[in-house]
């Protein structure tokens, strides 16, 4: 599973960092960094983070070529 954050929308609420601290990090007070490749054991947490994002900026999904074709 891959994750991408629309950082144009992101306002630095850091809800994702609270909920999935192994995937999302704050760099300084506000800048968000994350590992786009989500390990299997972090999948549930990232899903929670995506649901919780106050600006709905987090997309979790398969990358092209990982599934059917």
């Amino acid at each position: 599973m891959q994750v991408v954050v629309d950082l144009t929308r992101c306002q630095g609420y850091a809800q994702c960092v609270f909920l999935a601290p192994e995937v999302f990090h704050l760099h300084g007070e506000e800048a968000l960094l994350y590992d786009p490749a989500v390990p299997d054991d972090q999948f549930e947490r990232v899903r929670e983070a995506a649901a919780a994002c106050p600006v709905q900026a987090i997309l979790l999904g398969e990358e092209v070529g990982s599934g059917g074709r």
Partner: protein, 456 residues
């Protein structure tokens, strides 16, 4: 075009962010025909912003930034094969392997590539890099992990500054050279560029402004060992990253008769490409970094920008319009916006900061490195930049969208005394910089002036 626009053959050239989002949107909008996505890189669509940040820091793998799909676009992916030509009359795209791909509608989303070091012999020295693709990032990250004694970054734009930030965070010595007076000056103007320079120096960057690199030096065995600067100084380094901005991938369109040039492919508000005579096409669409499109808030000048959010928004509009009859088409009107994270600061911008004559510090302070700067042009608000104050940006975006008067009215709780003063925005001519703005107004149609040739 006869028949239902949701049927037929669509070819998308470009398999990065804009290409992927366009392909998804086509299906979302009910396109049931055949869809082919062509990409010059062998990789499926991946995200580039992490390459100069997480990947260089070693927090993410260079080959691990694949973009998640919103839905499977059910496309044929032709990856690793660049498009090399376009025949708009016979409606087909030529691929590097000699194959012609026929289309009913075409989307051009070929983006940009890194501007190479101008001297080809020096550019191939081992240790000299550009950073645009995941392969670039993988090689550079590996080299940084090996602990070079010094990294030279040529160009103090966003990419160059982010690379310098990653180097310092890894404990590496780094020199940044910039032809202009300060880093980011071409994008943010004078005041914030001084802040950026101060931040870089405070983080231990050896920042050299007002100089150019005149030569890259090898050790005689093809390895990069240092560079000569225009002020006579010499920098010894093991790694050099050339961060001189981007070149638009338009060469494959050279004979296509489109309004395509170094600043991109011109299109209308509905993402339809113009031909070289300024006549709009109806079967060739453009989206993402390779496009130039008119914006009503900026005097309908053609905007040329390299922004993640624009690639997504414009791809969505283009795809919608490709499968919609005329009256149901939408204009692409979203405001330019971008972000950069460097040296622990979150820099966000909305509007076009270079389209300005004055600025005002509207909230916060430079000392705290937490602030909002508003840009104005001829008495109205045209842009805003926040540093570690992203939650305020929406407010300023609204001011830009409503062409609110500049300077903005008082009232912010954390409005500094300095807000009483408007300052010149001090945006230099980008020709005199090592870096350009990532958003620029590029005048009106087309790149070439037409001359009337009368036949006898």
């Amino acid at each position: 075009m006869a028949g239902d626009p949701r049927e037929g053959r669509i070819v998308v050239v470009g398999a990065s962010l804009a290409g992927l989002r366009a392909a998804e949107t086509l299906r979302e909008q009910g396109f049931v025909g055949s869809l082919t996505v062509v990409g010059d890189e062998p990789h499926p669509p991946y995200d580039r912003p992490p390459l100069s940040k997480q990947v260089l820091l070693g927090h993410a793998a260079a080959d691990g930034t694949g973009l998640p799909m919103r839905r499977d676009p059910d496309a044929e992916w032709r990856l690793g094969v660049p498009a090399t030509g376009l025949d708009p009359l016979r409606k087909r795209v030529l691929l590097a392997d000699g194959e012609w791909l026929p289309y009913d509608r075409l989307l051009i989303a070929t983006g940009t590539r890194a501007r190479p070091w101008p001297n080809p012999e020096e550019a191939v020295l081992d240790g000299v890099f550009t950073l645009r693709t995941c392969d670039d990032a993988g090689r550079l990250a590996e080299r940084l992990a090996a602990g070079p004694r010094r990294v030279l970054v040529i160009g103090g734009g966003f990419t160059g500054s982010e690379i310098a930030s990653a180097c310092r965070e890894r404990g590496l010595e780094v020199t940044v050279t910039e032809r202009g007076p300060a880093p980011l000056v071409g994008a943010l103007g004078g005041t914030l560029s001084k802040l950026a320079a101060g931040v870089q120096r405070a983080h231990g960057v050896d920042l050299r402004c007002g100089v150019t690199v005149t030569a890259l030096r090898g050790d005689g065995m093809g390895r990069f060992v240092g560079a000569d600067l225009s002020d006579g100084a010499r920098v010894e380094a093991d790694v050099c990253v050339v961060a001189l901005g981007a070149v638009r991938n338009v060469e494959w369109l050279a004979d296509a008769g489109l309004a395509a040039g170094p600043r991109g492919v011109a299109c209308d508000a509905g993402c339809r490409a113009f031909d070289m005579y300024g006549i709009v096409t109806d079967d060739v669409f453009v989206a993402g970094d390779v496009s130039r499109f008119p914006h009503p808030l900026f005097e309908y000048q053609l905007l040329s920008l390299e922004h993640w959010g624009n690639a997504v928004a414009q791809a969505e509009v283009a795809a919608h319009n490709m499968v919609s009859p005329g009256p149901l088409r939408r204009p692409h009107l979203s405001l330019p916006s971008f972000w950069s994270s460097q040296f622990g600061l979150n820099i966000k911008s909305v509007g076009v900061p270079t389209f300005s004559d004055q600025i005002v510090l509207a909230q916060g302070t430079l000392e705290a490195r937490r602030l909002a700067v508003v840009y104005g042009y001829r008495g109205r608000v045209t842009a805003a930049v926040t540093v570690n104050m992203a939650k305020s940006l929406e407010y300023y975006q609204h001011l830009i969208e409503t062409a609110a008067p500049f300077p903005p009215g008082p009232g912010a709780a954390d409005r500094p005394l300095a807000a009483e003063l408007t300052l010149p925005s001090d945006v230099p001519d980008s020709k005199k910089l090592s870096h350009g703005p990532t958003v620029a107004l590029t005048g009106h149609l087309p790149d070439r002036r037409l001359t009337v040739v009368r036949h006898a």
